[in-house]
Amino acid sequence: MSLNVLICDDSSFARKQMARALPEEWQVEVHFAGDGVEGVDAIREGKGDVVFLDLTMPNMDGYGVLETIRRDDLPAMVIVVSGDIQPDAQERVKKLGAMAFIKKPIDADKARSVLTEYGIMTGA
């Protein structure tokens, strides 16, 4: 069974950029969500073993998604990918249970190093 990766961002351009940055040899199923509400739904459906999560989104923002994951104990490893690079923002998401923080704009090197560092990428 392959790993389910969810890309949750309100910008279709950002979702594409993120998908392109994933290592080519990483055998995963990629899913997409356009805001936090869709993101949480997808995680409940088992589509988010690993979640690349934006922070600034309509309906429910990334902080809301992290809170929901923690409150409902949903099985998701979250990597926040955001343009909000204030040290405070990084600290807040880590406190809310995010595993890692990647600054936008995302690129393949940043994605690979985080996936390797946290031992998420397997089966390569």
Binding site: T56, G83, I85
Partner: protein, 203 residues
Amino acid sequence: MSAAAIINEDQRDCYQELTNVAMGQAADRLARLLNAYVVLPIPKISVIENSDLNMALQGATSDNSVSAVCQGFIGAGISGEAMLMFNDASFASLASLMKYSGPLTQAAELELLMDTASVLIGACIHGIGDQLEIVFNQGHPVVLGQHCDMADLVAYGNNGWDKALAIEIHYTIEHVNIECELLLLFTEESVRALNKKIDYLLD
């Protein structure tokens, strides 16, 4: 041609995302300057007619008494105008966050306005430029007015364009009463050149 037709939906989405990244970089600079957390909104991308500028600006701040700076920038056949408007009620908090100890005279407010503008406008313009591989050169900042009515500022923007791409970013600072609006305007001709760069990213 309808007002909206100078950019399509994919392009609008891309402008929004590029702005998102650039305004985050600008907010980071401001946060470090003020030692505070800057609340980031979703930027608003729209195409406005010259006659709508008034409305765009009116919506920009909740207070009609404002102080504003503008600064032109140019590069790679693209020129734009950045405008930063501060709600006048913001200056007291801004002064205290910047550890400004003297009396809050008009001159002191001007200094606070210029310092903040140089950080926010510079970082935002370069943030957008970097992502599009454009080097923007900035002109000198110009004070449009202090403690003036929004309507008086509008006269400034009405010089020789019909339609423009407007990027609006509404910054607030957490826990204190500081509110400002950064408006970037690109005329139709510049938008055509920008769209080419955007399409390349979208490809």
